[in-house]
């Protein structure tokens, strides 16, 4: 069915010559959430959300494996409770992608109603769906790709043209390793990622457009406005501070963490059934069913607590296990106290990083699925001394709309009315640097550096006649390299023999506007203008799974023999 729609679309494309010449391919905006996803496109004057055949704008992010044909939440009939209970449905891909089995987020995913198995050695977890009483192995990438293929077919059928370019929103806290996984996933689905946009920055762009329109209407009010964007979905919590004027949004700071509705749900499940972890450890067919039932009941309860102060949970998990309990809102808030505190600290950190005071913030924008939770709304407004949140944005659609606008801006389409006279200047969410001075992490590009960026630092050898050096590239905020993500490594060879501290090893990091990181390293001997050896250029990340292992193996094999230190310039 999808195939057919595609053929029809490309036929009409060839006949509609003039249409394709005035409109270069507009990239579509895609927001794949942990729980829900949506697609939007710029139609020349505004953003339009695409709907599936069931007239839904929001589609559940899941894939059910049945027999030989997996089907995702875009095309398949309904999110049958049965699917969730049979072990054949994989979801929460966005929480699983690009993580190793020592990651706490993976461990927390072990009581999902499908198989997430860990060996706790730093390799990718084993994920499988139960099909005909057999565990069919899969990967988060595969599941996401199946889902994206469905989304793509849907968009192609509606827009009547082939879709290749997309702007995808991603959580702020995604490592570069996770971003490459996402890009690879898109490539599997035949999609080219024009931009990966941190979710709150997509919202910032939409806000910029709102401001631009407002200032067109009453001319002269083109002064700078500062907005704080708080976005909490099912899997991630993101915060951004943006300064907007004249359609230009400068991202001043970003902060993000892996907390979301899923964690609220898991905490509640633990609260309702304290020994759920051990009960469900075996992942038998029965346990999966109980797990699914508990999940659905808890989710419903949390949803209801957004509008009412208490809720009756009444669920039969089978095997004589029944939960019959009244839960009130205070209990829910108490159970998730730590999570809400973490949200607060993210906001405060983001404000500090942006060097912005609470009073300076003109607008507070709260979006994402969790924005319906009263406690979430309160905790944000309390920080801003009761300031009313910004209205005029749909909390579930803001990110995808921003992505669609960015898709149009970055595609460079003809824009006679100046709707797209917009720009978001992005910043790096995490610091990037190399290992030097022992086990220390030396950031070259600090967190919240404006992109595109290019920075360099000069290092030198630590041994006399050291002819080789290892460049180990990390991303993160820890002072020691072990606390950060390794992105890759390479060796510089052929350093001219010299006493230690003499060769100048210049390491340069370059991030272009498409967020591609390249690490360059060159060696210069004092007094020479030309580099002593050809400059090395390495695109990062280069490491696949088990990056923790690489660092250990390198350390075991080479010790400190190829180390570097920062070069202290003589005055």
């Amino acid at each position: 069915m999808a195939e057919q729609a595609y053929t029809v679309a490309s036929d009409s494309e060839t006949t509609g010559e003039e249409k394709s010449s005035t409109f270069p391919e507009i990239a579509i905006g895609v927001d794949i959430g942990t729980s829900q996803c949506s697609v939007a496109v710029w139609n020349g004057s505004q953003v339009e959300l695409l709907k599936n055949t069931r007239n839904q704008k929001m589609m559940r992010s899941y894939v059910t494996f049945k027999e030989d044909t997996p089907s995702g939440g875009v095309s398949s009939q309904l999110f049958h409770e049965h699917d969730l209970l049979s072990g054949a449905t994989i979801f929460n891909m966005k929480r699983l992608i690009g993580r190793v089995d020592t990651d706490p987020v993976i461990h927390a995913s072990k009581n999902l109603p499908f198989l997430v198995q860990t060996l706790d050695i730093g390799v990718r977890p084993f994920i499988a769906a139960l099909v005909n009483n057999m565990w069919r192995s899969t990967t988060p990438e595969e599941v996401l790709a199946i889902f994206l293929v469905e989304l793509r077919a849907m968009a192609e059928a509606q827009l009547k043209r082939p879709i290749r370019n997309i702007v995808l929103t991603v959580p702020v806290s995604f490592s570069r390793f996770q971003l490459t996984r996402i890009e690879r996933t898109c490539a599997m689905a035949g999609l080219h990622v024009l931009r990966l946009m941190p979710e709150p920055t997509a919202v910032a762009l939409l806000y910029g457009q709102h401001q631009q329109q407002a200032s067109h209407e009453n001319t002269g009010s083109g002064c700078e406005k500062i907005a704080l964007i708080f976005n909490m979905g099912a899997g991630y919590c993101d915060v951004a501070v943006t300064a907007t004027a004249g359609g230009v949004s400068q991202i001043k700071a970003l902060a993000g963490y892996t907390i979301g509705g899923e964690d609220l749900l898991q905490n509640m499940m633990c609260y309702l059934l304290p020994d759920s972890q051990s009960l469900f450890k075996n992942h038998g067919v029965k346990e999966i069913k109980s797990m699914g039932l508990l999940r659905v009941a808890t989710q419903d309860a949390i949803h209801q607590l957004s509008s009412q102060t208490n809720v009756q949970v009444d669920v039969d998990l089978g095997d004589g296990l029944k939960i019959c309990k009244v839960v009130d809102r205070e209990e829910f808030e108490e159970v998730n106290k730590n999570l809400f505190e973490k949200c607060e600290s993210l906001i405060i950190q983001c404000l500090q990083d942006a060097k912005v005071e609470v009073e300076d913030v003109n607008d507070v924008i709260i979006v994402g699925g969790c924005s319906f939770i009263p406690k979430v709304k309160n905790l944000v407004t309390n920080i801003f001394k009761g300031k009313e949140p910004y209205k005029g944005m749909n909390p579930l659609e803001a990110a995808v709309c921003g992505a669609a606008v960015e898709g149009a801006v970055a595609s460079g389409i003809n824009d006679p009315f100046g709707y797209l006279d917009l720009l978001t200047i992005q910043a790096t969410p995490l610091a990037i640097g190399i290992r030097a001075n022992g086990n220390n992490f030396i950031p070259l590009i600090p967190r919240n550096t404006t992109m595109p960026a290019r920075k360099d630092v000069v290092f030198t050898t630590i041994h006399d006649n050291q002819t080789e050096a290892l460049i180990l590239v990390y991303e993160g905020e820890g002072k020691k390299v072990e606390e950060n993500h390794m992105l890759g490594y390479f060796k510089i060879t052929g350093i001219p023999r010299a006493p230690k501290g003499v060769p100048e090893i210049n390491v340069c990091m370059d991030i272009d506007a498409a967020n591609v990181l390249r690490v360059l390293a060159g060696v210069v001997m004092p007094g020479c203008r030309q580099p002593a050896i050809p400059v090395m250029e390495v695109r990062m990340p280069t490491v696949d799974d088990g990056h923790g292992w690489c660092a250990e193996a390198l350390n075991r094999t080479y010790g400190a023999s190829l180390n570097l230190v920062t070069l202290q310039k003589k005055a």
Partner: protein, 158 residues
């Protein structure tokens, strides 16, 4: 290739000031005509000295006594022209954001009052003798002249 084209600043104050790349100066000047008319010092005829020591003020096309607001709005209007997201529309020779980085560095330096004060001092010092140079890592030259990154066909394969 001239060797002492780049501007020298005390690195301990603000290393980001060191990102000057003078080789792009000509193209920047050409395009600057279409930009804001604040670049009044551009026609002072000192083409040679401008190329060799284009100041951060010149990069942002503002006067030396420009206010913070003027600097900010100059940065924004230049960003709209030179940011890679918008530059593809206007300029066929895509420079991978090099111009924008330069504009950004100038903005960062001039929008921070203490960094700006230090920079103004260094400008005055440099005005005295053309060769007055500050300590500067050698590698910096390297980065501007040899580190050219491009886009590769295989970028999609990652």
């Amino acid at each position: 290739m001239p060797t002492s084209l780049t501007l020298a600043v005390v690195p301990t104050v603000s290393p980001r000031l060191l990102q000057r790349q003078s080789s792009d100066r000509i193209s920047l000047r050409r395009i600057s005509l279409s930009v804001v008319a604040t670049a009044t010092e551009a026609e002072s005829g000192k083409m040679e000295s401008r190329r060799s020591t284009a100041s951060l003020y010149e990069v942002l096309r503002v006067e030396k006594d420009a206010s913070t607001m003027e600097i900010k709005s100059a940065y924004r209007s230049l960003a709209k022209i030179y940011h890679p997201d918008t530059v593809v529309k206007r300029l066929p020779e895509y420079d991978n954001g090099r111009e924008f980085i330069e504009i950004r560095n100038a903005y960062e330096a001039l929008s921070d009052p203490s960094a700006r004060a230090m920079y103004d001092l260094s400008l005055m010092a440099a005005h005295g003798g053309r060769n007055s140079r500050f300590a500067r890592p050698l590698g910096m030259n390297l980065s501007s002249e040899f580190y050219t990154t491009g886009r590769w066909e295989t970028d999609q394969c990652w």
